[in-house]
């Protein structure tokens, strides 16, 4: 090969790198390892994580421990889906393109909006992309966001907004849902978009239609983040006035993976189709009249439009969207609704069961689908530690993101969480709270002269 090139050594090919810039030493990394050794090393690291196989997890907060059917892994691990690049050559990418088309149809059905893209990175950056779209569509520079929007989404939108040059105004919660009066007061004729989430971060189902009316009055876009797994039973955002419905796609056919890769979905009204971010597959015909699929509306995209593109996204999460599509096909129309109902009923049971525990009270009474918030009368992190000792992850401590709810715990339910596990959680929480109070009593008694209040 060197002879064909006309050089004596591979080093000659690297002579275009100026001498002072050549590394001149090996990278300071370990030597290569055999496959067996790498496996053992990675398995040892994996063994130091408390995963949902060894812990009964009630953690949610945007990602959920659903059962992903075996068919999803079987299909997504096929070389033909796992190893191609983005379908730039449609004649040899019909499989992937048709999956995108089917996925777009499914997401469009779920959200009740006519246009879907083929997926974005994940939930929060999809929210930020909606902000960019809204800014372009309205030529306005103010976003009004509900405090019920996922904290990661709010923060990501704020991060991106520094670049866009937009202002983010936050509206608080009242009784677990967005404060309607405060929202109406915050939205004005400078507002590009209003961002709601339903169910919101506290699990509460928002009255999107009522809240969103104020966006319409001022000509702002209504952006609704939603949990796709709740859309078998909840009114789709498109029927509640949303211009954009988006969200974290992980509950559909994707593993927890410590937070990624998953995908974001992004659906909108026809009016926004030419401002959409990301890939969109479209139906067309070949020269012989055969049905086929291509990347449509590429004139929005960075590889064609460069600085005038509607978004910079290139590689997204195609394989994760395939997982979602297969999961949705497996559930089917009836199964998807049934799963939604199962979640509502088991969550109602869990909420009732926990609320009856001494030291636990509901943080809000708003309707919920699959997640709810409670307040604990003992320090949350300590209670979580005690419950973890019994092999249970009791939920998400709200104090991590909401200083006003530092006694709050967010509890998520999936079809994997059985009534028996819920009973065990209730029992473990009660015992942990009692023990913490006891510990506090003991501490206070030995350390301080004043009276005990616990």
């Amino acid at each position: 090969m060197l002879a064909a090139i006309g050089v004596d050594s591979v080093d000659e090919l690297f002579e275009q790198i100026p001498g002072p810039l050549r590394l001149g030493r090996p990278l300071d990394l370990p030597a290569g390892m055999s496959e067996a050794e790498v496996y053992e090393r990675l398995a040892a690291l994996a063994g130091r994580n408390a995963d949902a196989e060894e812990q009964v997890t009630f953690l949610g907060a945007g990602m959920y421990d659903h059962y992903v059917p075996a068919i999803v892994d079987a299909i997504t691990s096929r070389s033909e889906f796992l190893t191609p690049y983005t379908p730039y050559q449609p004649e040899i990418s019909q499989g992937g393109l048709q999956v995108m088309f089917e996925f777009q149809t499914a997401m469009s059905e779920l959200t009740g909006l006519p246009v879907s893209n083929a997926g974005l990175y994940e939930g929060p950056s999809s929210v930020a992309s909606a902000g960019y779209l809204a800014m372009g569509a309205t030529k306005r520079k103010k976003f009004v966001v509900s405090r019920g929007l996922h904290p990661h989404s709010r923060e990501t939108l704020a991060t991106y907004s520094v670049g866009y040059g937009t202002e983010v105004v936050e509206v608080g919660l009242d009784g677990g849902v967005t404060d309607a009066a405060a929202l109406a007061a915050a939205v004005d004729d400078e507002t590009a978009a209003v961002f709601l989430q339903s169910p919101n971060f506290l699990g509460a189902v928002e009255d999107v239609e009522a809240l969103g009316a104020t966006a319409k009055e001022h000509g702002a876009l209504l952006v609704v983040a939603c949990d796709p797994m709740t859309l078998g039973i909840l009114k789709p955002p498109g029927e509640s006035g949303a211009d954009i419905a988006l969200g974290e796609g992980q509950p559909l056919g994707n593993r927890l993976d410590f937070g990624g890769p998953s995908f974001g979905f992004f659906c909108a009204t026809e009016a926004q189709i030419r401002r959409m971010p990301g890939r969109i597959a479209g139906e067309t015909e070949d020269v012989d009249g055969r049905r086929g699929f291509v990347l449509a509306l590429q004139t929005r995209e960075q590889h064609i439009r460069r600085e005038k593109a509607t978004n910079n996204i290139c590689t997204a999460q195609a394989l994760n969207a395939l997982g979602a599509m297969v999961h949705l096909a497996w559930l089917g129309r009836e199964g998807f609704r049934e799963l939604g109902e199962l979640l509502v009923r088991r969550t109602a049971y869990a909420r009732q069961r926990l609320a009856a525990v001494d030291g636990v009270e509901l943080l809000h009474e708003a309707p919920v689908v699959r997640e709810f918030a409670v307040r604990l009368s003992a320090p949350v992190e300590e209670v979580l530690d005690r419950v973890a000792d019994r092999g249970i992850a009791a939920g998400y401590p709200l104090g991590r993101e909401y200083e006003e709810f530092d006694d709050g715990l967010l509890v998520a339910i999936t079809e994997r969480r059985t009534p028996a596990q819920i009973d065990e959680l209730a029992e473990a929480l009660g015992a942990a709270i009692a023990a913490e109070r006891g510990a506090k009593v003991a501490n206070t008694a030995t350390n301080a002269p004043q009276g005990v209040t616990a």
Partner: protein, 509 residues
């Protein structure tokens, strides 16, 4: 001419999963709720509920499996053949990486798990950060960005924060005319204006033009975004001077790491003077492309940029009182630009890439780059020795790095074949075509990146196919102009898909 018979794949018309749907069929069997069957309307107000479930397909499992297996066969993929797609680094995806990513300790680890109970995951992320820092020659890494263009946006927001911290507001970002499309798109999203820099006779940055662009308004230059080797596959020999000019103007130097596969263990962006680097773990570090993701786009930065990195950052805390070190998520970063996405990043991708780095090790990574460069130069030489030497000349004729760019202009003039025709004819020969019509400054461009995981035999077969296509075109150019013939569909009407977009299934009801 068009062959008369339909290829086997073409006989099966595209049918969607929705068109296979029959009322009442299903695959899923769900557990019983095991709790009271309270009517849903008693739990959620009726005005918040949907009247009808969404129209999802009703299909049993055997038909779902057949449907997607059939669809899969309508894809070309890296495991089936050579994929010399320039700038995309389609190297082999080791299956070990899939196995370790699927371990329950990774795959079923909740992202909000208490860091004390996710020590293995955080340590893995920390070790990957350290490995990438060494490969880049820069002290700090954030794994958070989800893909290359997300890393670019991060880099530009970091630049903005860095300047703001110094009390400066700068408005312009320089980028060569050869840059990836994501570069200018990211610049706009970050609120900057793009200023194009010309390319010189040797395929590098035109230094006179660069100086002129800087001198126009030095106080406004926020950043120069560069790929090195660039999208022509050429290493810019003036990089030290370029870095000095940008730094003297007060700007940051951004490295688009799409082409890192050329230089691992040979030279490092940090040593070249770059302040911010993004890496595509789905290119150089073997994460499978998945037909368009997932990927990951970690960024490595110099110490002056480090305070602004996204949060949270994975950190190592030294042990005390007989305990070993521990790992944590650090949110206390007052100068941070903030989050770019949910949770900690595409962790599953990190597992695969860390497994890849462990497998190859220090020597292996360097050898990968050496072989990638050797393969590219060999293929370039093989092509130049045949008809491609005249019809498809190399755009800038010198040793390339991991990829090279050909111009199809003579082929078009002499044989009437456009680059697109050649690309489509290659499909009939069982190859994925190179990247076409990019970079923009090369007329009728073909960008070829063979990667290190191809054998000499593969490269020879590809060169032979190009030779055959050029030969047949001398007598019958129509053959390529109407190609492909053997694919599931033939050339598709892309204009219609944009003018009158049909982007979802229409239901007859």
């Amino acid at each position: 001419m068009t062959p008369l018979a339909e290829a086997p794949m073409q006989r099966e018309r595209a049918t969607t999963i929705y068109e296979k749907s029959k009322t009442g069929r299903r695959a899923a069997v769900l557990p019983d709720a095991g709790v009271p069957e309270t009517p849903i309307e008693d739990l959620i107000p009726a005005n918040l509920l949907r009247a009808e479930p969404p129209n999802l397909p009703e299909v049993a499992e055997p038909e779902i499996v057949r449907h997607y297996n059939r669809l899969s066969r309508r894809n070309f993929d890296l495991d089936s053949g050579f994929y010399p797609l320039g700038s995309c680094t389609m190297k082999h995806n080791p299956r070990l990486n899939e196995r370790v990513a699927a371990l329950p300790g990774h795959a079923r680890l909740h992202p909000a798990q208490d860091p004390r109970r996710a020590q293995g995951a955080l340590e893995l992320m920390y070790l990957l950060q350290e490995s990438l820092a060494e490969i880049c020659g820069l002290p700090s890494v954030s794994l958070q960005p989800s893909a290359g263009s997300h890393g670019e946006l991060a880099g530009l927001l970091l630049t903005r924060a860095y300047h703001a911290d110094r009390g400066e507001t700068r408005t312009k970002v320089l980028a060569p005319d050869t840059s990836h499309g994501t570069n200018p798109a990211s610049v706009t999203m970050a609120g900057y204006e793009v200023v194009k820099v010309a390319t010189n006779q040797r395929g590098g940055v035109d230094m006179d033009d660069l100086r002129a662009r800087i001198e126009e308004d030095p106080d406004q230059i926020a950043c120069l975004m560069l790929t090195n080797p660039n999208t022509l596959g050429l290493f810019d020999e003036n990089i030290e001077e370029i870095a000095a000019l940008i730094h003297a103007a007060g700007g940051t130097l951004y490295y688009d790491g799409a082409n890192l596969n050329a230089i691992m263990g040979r030279t490092r962006p940090g040593d070249m003077g770059f302040d911010i680097v993004h890496l595509n773990l789905h290119k150089s570090f073997s994460q499978p492309h998945g037909g368009g993701g997932p990927g990951a786009g970690p960024i490595a930065v110099s110490s002056r940029i480090e305070p602004f990195l996204p949060r949270p950052q994975v950190v190592r805390r030294e042990g005390s009182g007989g305990h070993g070190p521990s790992f944590d998520l650090d949110f206390e970063r007052p100068k941070s630009i903030g989050r770019l996405r949910g949770f900690q990043g595409n962790f599953g991708v990190f597992v695969r890439s860390y497994a890849y780095i462990l497998s190859l090790g220090s020597d292996g990574l360097a050898e990968a780059s050496e072989t990638a460069v050797l393969n590219a130069n060999y293929l370039k030489a093989r092509l130049a020795a045949g008809r491609a030497g005249e019809r498809l000349p190399v755009a800038f004729d010198r040793h390339c790095m991991h990829e090279f760019v050909l111009s199809g202009r003579p082929m078009k003039n002499e044989l009437g074949l456009a680059t697109l025709d050649l690309a489509k004819r290659l499909l009939d020969f069982g190859f994925h075509p190179p990247t076409v019509y990019f970079p923009l400054l090369v007329d009728e461009a073909l960008m070829v990146e063979p990667t290190e995981t191809e054998t000499k035999e593969s490269l020879d077969a590809f060169a032979d196919a190009i030779e055959e296509i050029l030969t047949e075109a001398e007598t019958d150019p129509e053959l390529a102009k109407n190609a492909p013939y053997s694919t599931p569909v033939r050339r598709l009407d892309e204009v219609r898909a944009t003018r009158k977009p049909v982007v979802r299934q229409r239901f007859s009801d």
